[in-house]
């Protein structure tokens, strides 16, 4: 069974999610092969971190995240049919970043909660109501269904929708209008992740 344990989900929430905008900015600067975009690399990086036996030895999650993402990009470049020498050269020049704290790394728990509060305000109804009843009041899906007069399945769909919107908003740095678009919209970011680039800020 592969799955993702609650402990691992929590570890990712604490140590990786806050660095995602920063990671996206780095990946966006790399010369990616044609069949690879920033979202692909991010997903693969999470996949790699989810499948680790243990994360006890990860001392600096941010740098580890970066190494993993870099390795993924390198692997894809080597596998791609048209190998761009320049792409490999470029990648080699991206050393693992120095251990200086990025603005994202300094994001405190308080600030994260603040961004979360703002992001939740972007959720459309009735998703927002359902999501808050689940997260704050800890009602079961069944209780939420009764409270809001919808089916259990509808509650589940609204929770899923909320997850998608919040991930777009928070994963990409918490600003921009990414949260307003539907999560089912395909390939909206292929080849140009402007949000991530803007995150870089310099």
């Amino acid at each position: 069974m592969r799955g993702v344990s609650n402990e691992r989900a929590l570890w990712l929430a604490r140590h990786i999610l806050p660095h995602e905008p920063w990671l996206r900015a780095f990946i966006a600067r790399m010369r990616l092969p044609e069949d690879l975009d920033v979202d692909d690399v991010v997903q693969e990086a999470y996949g790699k971190l989810a499948s680790l036996e243990s994360v006890d030895d990860v001392r600096n999650p941010r740098n580890y995240l970066y190494s993993v993402a870099r390795m993924i990009v390198l692997m894809h470049i080597r596998r791609s049919k048209i190998v761009s020498i320049r792409a490999v050269d470029d990648l080699e020049s991206y050393a693992v970043p120095a251990n200086d704290p990025s603005p994202e790394q300094q994001v405190s728990d308080r600030e994260q909660l603040h961004l979360l509060g703002l992001a939740v305000a972007e959720l459309p109804e009735p998703s927002r109501k359902a999501f808050l009843l689940r997260m704050i009041d800890e009602l079961s899906h069944k209780e939420i269904a009764e409270r809001l007069g919808m089916s259990d399945n509808a509650v589940q769909k609204n929770i899923a929708k909320s997850i998608g919107i919040l991930l777009k908003r928070l994963g990409r740095g918490g600003n921009g209008d990414a949260g307003a678009s539907s999560i089912a919209q395909p390939h909206e970011n292929r080849g140009s992740d402007d949000t991530a680039r803007d995150e870089r800020g310099n």
């Binding site: 929430a13 996949g47 600030e111 909660l113 509060g117 997850i163």
Partner: protein, 339 residues
């Protein structure tokens, strides 16, 4: 060849699975279905892990409590600049206090700087005195300064919590640098003047009531007498005088020109406009041992206008004699004005 699944498509399915697991533990069949889905692409596992992480992260929302209104929160806090993060504020500070904390951010930084400086100030308690005719500018390390007028004494003590000056006698002008963490307080008699970024003068002369004149900014004045009075706010171009009964502080507005005239002493000058000679003579007496006397008391009621060097009462007397058709008669220790 099968089209490569897009990351957005994967994200959508992954969010569905995360929500499904959130609803209830998966039964055997559902678990097998999920395992099979996750198996084929690392991106699927990653997207699912990421969705689960988002749900775990959203658990923080409990900090807002039941009835949390995100739109009201956004309306209240969206303007808050994220740079506040970099001030290193404690994460434990409740969110509702965010705004007020931001306003105090500068003060917090200043307080840190003050704490570092504070120790050097402990030894900085000092008494400054000027002789008659002497004017002395005393700059303080915090950027404030005190200009001590003639024949004045002030005791200065800066601590980590207060910049305290006691005007023992005479007159001083204070140019106060802002420091939220450490109020600047001048005590003169039973008046206590509290200032932020201000320029003001405090006068405490033996024969006159204590007076405060504000040139820029504003101050708060307390009286430390038997009957405590509410602090009184005195703004720029106002004069505050403590009444002899000690009951209240009388404030009067001043023209800006009058304020600067009153402070000509800082340049070693005295400025008068329609001031009775006897009053001008009293002013000169503060700066010099040479007295100005009047052969006839009525002469003292004549008025004078002009700018004069504070340390030259004889020159003043001669100048006045010329304009009022009087005779200035310098003698040992004084100068007599006669008809």
């Amino acid at each position: 060849m099968i089209r490569r699944e897009t990351s957005a498509e994967i994200d959508a399915v992954a969010a569905d699975w995360a929500a499904r697991v959130d609803a209830a533990p998966l039964d055997g069949a559902a678990q097998a279905e999920l395992d099979a889905w996750l198996e084929s692409d690392t991106r699927r596992l990653g997207a699912y892990a990421r969705a689960r992480a988002m749900l775990a992260h959203a658990g923080r929302l409990q900090a807002f409590g039941t009835g949390f209104d995100p739109e009201a929160y956004r309306a209240l806090h969206q303007a808050s600049p994220p740079e506040a993060v970099e001030t290193g504020l404690e994460p434990a500070v409740p969110l509702v206090r965010r705004r007020s904390f931001l306003l105090g951010g500068g003060a917090a930084v200043a307080a840190g700087a003050v704490a570092a400086v504070g120790f050097s100030w402990q030894a900085a308690a000092a008494t400054y005195t000027t002789r008659r005719g002497e004017i002395r500018l005393i700059p303080f390390e915090d950027g404030s300064s005190m200009t001590l007028n003639t024949a004045s004494t002030a005791r200065v003590k800066f601590t980590a919590t207060e910049r305290h000056v006691e005007l023992v006698e005479g007159e001083a002008m204070f140019d106060v640098a802002r420091d939220h963490a450490r109020p600047f307080v001048v005590a003169a008699g039973d008046m206590k003047v509290r200032a932020a970024a201000t320029s003001f003068t405090v006068q405490r002369l033996a024969s006159r009531p204590v007076q405060v004149m504000v040139r820029r900014g504003e101050v708060e004045i307390d009286r430390t007498g038997l009957r405590p009075m509410p602090a009184q706010r005195v703004t720029a171009n106002m004069r505050a005088i403590s009444t002899p009964t000690g009951a209240e502080i009388v404030t009067t507005p001043l023209a800006p020109a009058e304020v600067s005239r009153e402070q000509a002493w800082r340049e070693g000058m005295l400025s008068f406009e329609d001031v009775p000679l006897k009053q001008a003579a009293d002013e000169f007496a503060r700066y010099s041992d040479t007295r100005i006397a009047f052969a006839d008391p009525a002469i003292g009621d004549e008025t004078v206008t002009g700018l004069f060097a504070a340390n030259n009462p004889v020159g003043f007397a001669k100048s006045v004699a010329l304009s009022l058709d009087l005779k200035a008669d310098p003698r040992a220790g004084d100068v007599v004005l006669r008809r």
